[in-house]
């Protein structure tokens, strides 16, 4: 049955717009397909608010945002990009009001919340120590505010556009994910199925101990600080930007950008991770 398109409110907090740019890099379906066509048979989305792309500006733009939740309660999906500062209302404002307050208000009436990127999922870069502005992800903010709305995390700095498309397709087909469909850190299990290390094309080098001694050299990047052994992401088989390249193919160690502790746990980014780190808190079982 063909229903109304699912309205999407895209709210940006403490971020860099990289997640939006990444989504615009989607291919098959590309961004035009997502905006103009059905995402899965009979189901489509309609973008109603996105500050980087929308036509109206100033008051007319704010009026769109202020319509939610209102009468639309229960009829829209909220996508949050960026973390939410909580230490002081002045650290981040949109339309005169604190970002965290707006994000919580929008989430209250949403059918579900997609946390797009590591910042929205777990705090990410702005929550890096010493977290000057008290940034948190949207899930943590809603827990603190006692707002009970399903949240699904799509971490990555930025996330691969495919991870977002897969998550939205899931929501259109099955509704917001149930707790049992999520892993221990709020991601759809199907979207973050294994470690970078499990499918790494340089895995054979790791297994025989052939390590690259410097940037631009052949071999496994573990000694240069690669966090692939501890990072859940399917970059090795989807690759990036239409499949032209990705971090490890480019000779750059994985920096663990999808992990809840990014950027603190993987830091120093270019130092070999020790065995003790491999058994630490960041290594979660599904």
């Amino acid at each position: 049955m063909r229903g109304e398109p699912l309205a999407v409110v895209w709210f940006q907090g403490a971020g860099c717009t990289g997640c939006s740019v990444s989504l615009m890099n989607a291919a098959y379906p590309d961004i035009k397909d997502l905006l103009l066509d059905e995402v899965v048979p009979g189901k489509s989305i309609t973008l109603v608010f996105h500050a980087t792309l929308m036509g109206p500006t100033g008051r007319p733009a704010l009026e769109v945002l202020d319509r939610f939740p209102g009468e639309a309660a229960g009829d829209y999906l909220l996508v949050v990009e960026g973390a939410l500062p909580t230490r002081h209302p002045n650290f981040g404002r949109v339309g005169e009001r604190p970002m965290a307050e707006r994000a919580a208000g929008l989430a209250r009436g949403a059918v579900g919340v997609v946390a797009m990127g590591t910042c929205a999922s777990y705090g990410g870069i702005p929550a890096g120590a010493p977290n000057p502005t008290g940034c948190v992800g949207i899930g943590e903010l809603l827990r603190r505010e006692g707002i009970d709305v399903p949240v699904v995390n799509v971490p990555g700095c930025p996330p691969h556009p495919r991870w977002f498309v897969e998550t939205v397709a899931h929501i259109l087909l099955h509704g917001p994910p149930r707790p049992e469909e999520l892993d221990g850190v709020g991601r759809l299990r199907a979207v973050y199925p294994d470690l970078v290390h499990d499918n790494c094309p340089r895995r054979a080098d790791f297994d025989v101990g052939r390590f690259a001694p410097a940037f631009g050299a052949e071999g496994c990047l573990y000694e240069l600080g690669c966090k692939g052994p501890y990072t859940d992401a399917n970059c090795p088989y989807h690759e990036w930007n239409g499949g032209v390249n990705w971090c490890i193919k480019a000779g750059h160690p994985c920096i663990g950008c999808c992990e809840p502790e990014f950027p603190d746990y993987p830091s120093p980014l270019f130092r070999k991770a020790g065995a003790e780190e491999a058994t630490g808190a960041f290594r979660r079982s599904g």
């Binding site: 860099c16 717009t17 905006l35 500006t57 404002r93 949109v94 010493p130 502005t133 700095c157 930007n241």
Partner: protein
């Protein structure tokens, strides 16, 4: 007098609030407020110096290569190294591709809707107003088609970055000493093919659309001027830069002296008045500071608020840059029926982006031909315990500087001054407005000023995530 608040300013990067005072149909005053503070300079303190390479890249998802480039220059300087020629060619190719992405995105998706009919685009993308629309129905339809086509072209430009840069956004290849990726001959072919397609688009679609806009809105060559210009130059190779550094303070180009930069904080939410050189700068946030109205600091060069960006690059390159640029720029200025003195204007900035997009794309074809897939791409280095570094480059949006101080093997201080820090800066302690504030002042407006102010502000391509880190 009426005060109109524009918040949020959409179709830019990040969170900007602009307040204008309108009296008798003229903007008599303006205030730019950056509305988000993350504290990345604080977050970098105490970390391993190489972390800055990847963390500063993440200041901005639209122009990550700008920070990646500035950070690598800054760390190269601190480490006393420079990349092998092949590594520099690759850095330039990666960075050039980011310029192409930026300018296509800015023209079609951020700026053009200001001139298209109310319902020209799908759904929420449509501008929703028909005020001062001058394109014929046929022209508007064609431009709307190009808006959609440009979505593909900007995606391909991102693929161009990723081919040698690992991925986009947030490249994973540029490092101190060079790049990590050694392209194979197949990558060179893939790069050439995509670049050619983008060059064809710039030449055959973007430039003609730009000239059409300039023909329909020639009055915007008279609006939004600043006059004082500053550029750090960019794309170094063999001891030179494709775009030279320089400043225009009194009408004549002069060489750049980086010692003349100061960051003021009199009206910004930081303790004290600032006026410090970024090498020595201490700026603790103070979100309750009563006399402040922005998270953006106020950088000044020789005490002046300078516009940075494509107009500044073009002005200096026309005076001291390569002949190829002077020719290309001259042609476009003639076709647009304007002159170099109008570069610092709403339409002049758009024109300057177009002229440099084609020029950079051609330079990239040259760099690609010089690439040697067998030659080294990076030099090895050892990290000093104590060091200082400075990395200056132009970003697509203008002059960008990174400064680092390493103490005990860790980052003791990291300072960034980004293009929009210059352009969207608030007043300094002398009360002198920032460039966008000045550009708005004196503008005749038809209604509440939302239309004209939006067009003028967007011509600077503001990026707030860069402006306040």
């Amino acid at each position: 007098m009426r005060t109109v608040t524009i918040d949020p300013i959409t179709r830019i990067e990040g969170h900007l609030r602009v307040e204008i005072q309108v009296e008798d149909g003229t903007i008599v005053g303006a205030r730019c407020s950056g509305a988000l503070y993350r504290g990345l300079e604080e977050i970098l303190r105490g970390r391993h110096p190489l972390d800055a390479q990847r963390i500063t890249t993440r200041i901005c998802g639209v122009c990550p290569l700008a920070h990646s480039t500035a950070a690598s220059l800054c760390l190269d300087d601190a480490l006393g190294i420079s990349p092998p020629r092949n590594g520099q060619l690759l850095r330039n190719l990666i960075y050039g591709a980011n310029f192409l992405h930026n300018h296509i995105l800015h023209f079609y998706h951020l700026a053009l809707p200001d001139y298209l009919p109310a319902d020209a685009l799908p759904g929420a993308l449509s501008p929703g107003t028909d005020e001062d629309r001058r394109f014929s129905r046929e022209e508007a339809r064609k431009l709307a088609d190009h808006y959609l086509q440009a979505l593909d072209m900007r995606r391909k430009a991102q693929e161009l970055v990723a081919l040698f840069g690992g991925k986009m956004p947030h490249d994973m290849s540029i490092v101190p000493g060079g790049v990590t990726y050694r392209p194979d001959p197949g990558d060179v072919a893939a790069f050439r093919f995509r670049l050619k397609e983008i060059v064809d688009f710039i030449r055959g679609v973007y430039i003609p659309d730009l000239l059409l806009l300039a023909r329909r809105y020639p009055d915007y060559f008279e609006l939004g001027g600043v006059g004082k210009l500053l550029t750090f130059g960019c794309f170094p190779l063999d001891g030179d830069r494709l775009f030279p550094a320089g400043a225009v303070l009194d009408g004549e180009p002069e060489p750049l002296d980086p010692a003349e930069i100061r960051e003021h904080t009199a009206r910004s939410w930081y303790r004290g008045n600032g006026a410090q050189h970024p090498r020595e700068e201490e700026a603790e946030p103070d979100p309750d500071k009563a006399e402040a109205y922005s998270w953006i600091k106020a950088p000044r060069y020789r005490g002046e608020a300078c516009e940075v960006g494509p107009a500044a690059r073009a002005a200096i390159a026309l005076a001291r840059g390569p002949g190829g640029f002077r020719e290309a720029a001259g042609e476009l200025l003639t076709e647009a029926k304007t002159g170099p003195e109008r570069l610092s204007s709403t339409m002049g900035r758009h024109l300057a982006r177009g002229m440099e997009a084609l020029f950079i794309a051609r330079a990239m074809e040259g760099w690609l031909a010089e690439l040697d897939p067998a030659a080294p791409v990076a030099v090895a280095f050892t990290l000093p315990r104590e060091a200082r570094g400075q990395g200056l480059t132009d970003a697509p949006r203008g002059a960008l500087g990174h400064w680092v101080e390493v103490a005990g093997g860790k980052i003791a201080r990291y300072q960034v001054i980004a293009p929009t820090t210059w352009n969207a800066s608030p007043r300094d302690e002398k009360g002198a407005p920032g460039p966008i504030e000045r550009a708005l002042q004196g503008t005749r407006v038809s209604g509440d000023g939302l239309l004209e102010a939006g067009r003028i502000v967007r011509s600077f391509d503001p990026c707030l995530a860069c402006a306040i880190q």
